[in-house]
Subunit: 305 residues, 2 copies
């Protein structure tokens, strides 16, 4: 699956991913009103609004971006109706030829991790019938439980040609509380990075591994070190834009071949119309603001090469 | 919420929790057949079978156990239909007066962690209407992202009188890969334990905190140390029974007041009918085997006091 993602990145000259993390507060009034009129003040209305919002944005940007990254928490908060909107979004993005990275940060052990992996990257056997749950192309995974938590994901990736991104160094201010603690003279995130490299060897696909890593844009020095520790891992980079990460800092996340990293922006794209810079598009045409924000982001990221 | 759980533990003299982690391979033929006849070989059939299986077990044990712990991965693998079965299970258990611990192992940062917290322990505001997602009493949470990931959960706990159990030392063989690494002369899990104690002070409820910890039954020496580091935390103990943890080893997980720990068994209870010991109940009466297994487990755990 990583070779498919790399192919699309090269084709669109865009090592970026659009984060579909809808908050009700981002969704324009006219979409909300229509959903409330149809479904009342219900979870179904929220799900419908989220779906219509996503669809308009995807329609406006699918030719520019290789991938999208829906953050499942933003859907899960509305319960079943929210997850129905998540699934519609995943399916629609795949129809549009986009690679879908499910930002689910799951992680457990043994048969439980296997169940999460099948839920998001595979299928279960129901009396001989293969039933897919959410069916993304990639999923994000938490490493705290060690190999017992990761190996079942890799098995499912190998079976179905899918991939994972393992949290190594996250973009948030308190990520250092545990991730930066010094173990044998080196920070824990480096050890996790070494494990990612080791696990990655189990699922190579072309020059890269289906086992990638998450490293926040907000820690470029650490990104530089981790790039070297995990040469075959694609690095998914959150924290660009809204969280403060700048394009100039991101060069070290990439390999010499111009690949090896994919930079995410969520709010900066999907709620672009709320920024002064894109206000001219108006709330009604929010998706045009998103399109312009994607164009600007691609130009910004490509300026580092 | 922890005081409610402690009240129920005392009332039923049972510091245990029944793990509702249904695998299709555990579910008796007659339930599966009925579900396939009604829904075909579909996710809906799997969801229906899981629900009927859970309901029979809950009906057979609800008077004995203070709590249940559905493992969401086992539902999520069937996609939306599986999560409908999860929600039905949560609601039914609450109707039966059980405390529901959603074993979801979620964890992210900022507004995303807040969304997970609202999804499982709170509600979201949809145009002035409060909409609850899955509405468990407790959720399990992953600490890898630090305070930014935990604090939003605590805020939601305080708002709605709920609780969390934070992964500290998990029961699996490879849990040591990161959790046991030595930081400043002490294993990482002790540092996480100290943080749990610190975070716990933000949500006290009687003698205990709504912020508990997960410590596997398979590492009793570490459990003893962690008990002292987190005196106010209730320890959720997986790994008893099927994973090899023995009652005799669990004494150090409890405080002098006989509280402070709740021991989980999943497969050992819900698939008890598959064990030679309980075979006499037959597959047809699998729930009676589960009831006997709960009685035996309570006796076993109480033998340590």
């Amino acid at each position: 699956m990583i070779s498919k993602l790399n192919e699309k990145i090269k084709q669109k000259k865009a090592p970026i991913v659009v984060g579909l993390d809808p908050m009700l507060s981002y969704i324009p009034e006219h979409i909300l009103k229509k959903a409330y009129a149809k479904f009342g003040r219900t979870a179904e209305a929220a799900g419908e609004a989220v779906w219509q919002y996503n669809k308009a944005i995807v329609d406006a940007v699918y030719d520019l971006t290789p991938a999208v990254k829906p953050q499942i928490a933003m859907y899960e908060q509305f319960g079943i109706a929210g997850l129905v909107a998540f699934k519609r979004t995943v399916d629609y993005c795949k129809e549009k030829g986009l690679i879908v990275i499910g930002d689910v940060k799951r992680g457990d052990i043994g048969s439980t991790s296997a169940a999460y992996a099948e839920a998001h990257l595979g299928s279960v056997d129901v009396d001989g019938e293969k039933i897919a749950g959410f069916d993304e192309d990639f999923a994000t995974v938490n490493p705290y439980l060690g190999t017992d938590g990761i190996k079942p994901f890799i098995d499912v990736c190998n079976k179905n040609d899918r991939g994972i991104f393992i949290l190594v160094k996250t973009s948030n201010p308190s990520s250092g509380e545990f991730q930066d603690r010094i173990v044998d003279g080196r920070p824990l995130y480096e050890l996790v990075g070494e494990k990612v490299n080791e696990w990655g060897a189990l699922s190579m696909d072309g020059d890269y591994s289906n086992v990638g890593a998450v490293v926040g844009a907000t820690y470029p020095k650490m990104g530089e070190v981790l790039r070297k520790i995990m040469p075959k891992a694609c690095i998914l980079v959150p924290g660009y834009g809204a969280q403060g990460g700048k394009a100039a800092d991101l060069k070290p996340y990439f390999n010499e071949d111009g690949l090896g990293a994919i930079v995410n922006s969520s709010r900066g794209i999907i709620a672009a119309y709320k920024q002064e810079k894109y206000a001219k598009f108006s709330e009604e045409h929010f998706y045009e603001a998103s399109r312009q924000a994607v164009i600007d982001m691609i130009e910004d990221i490509n300026s580092i090469f």
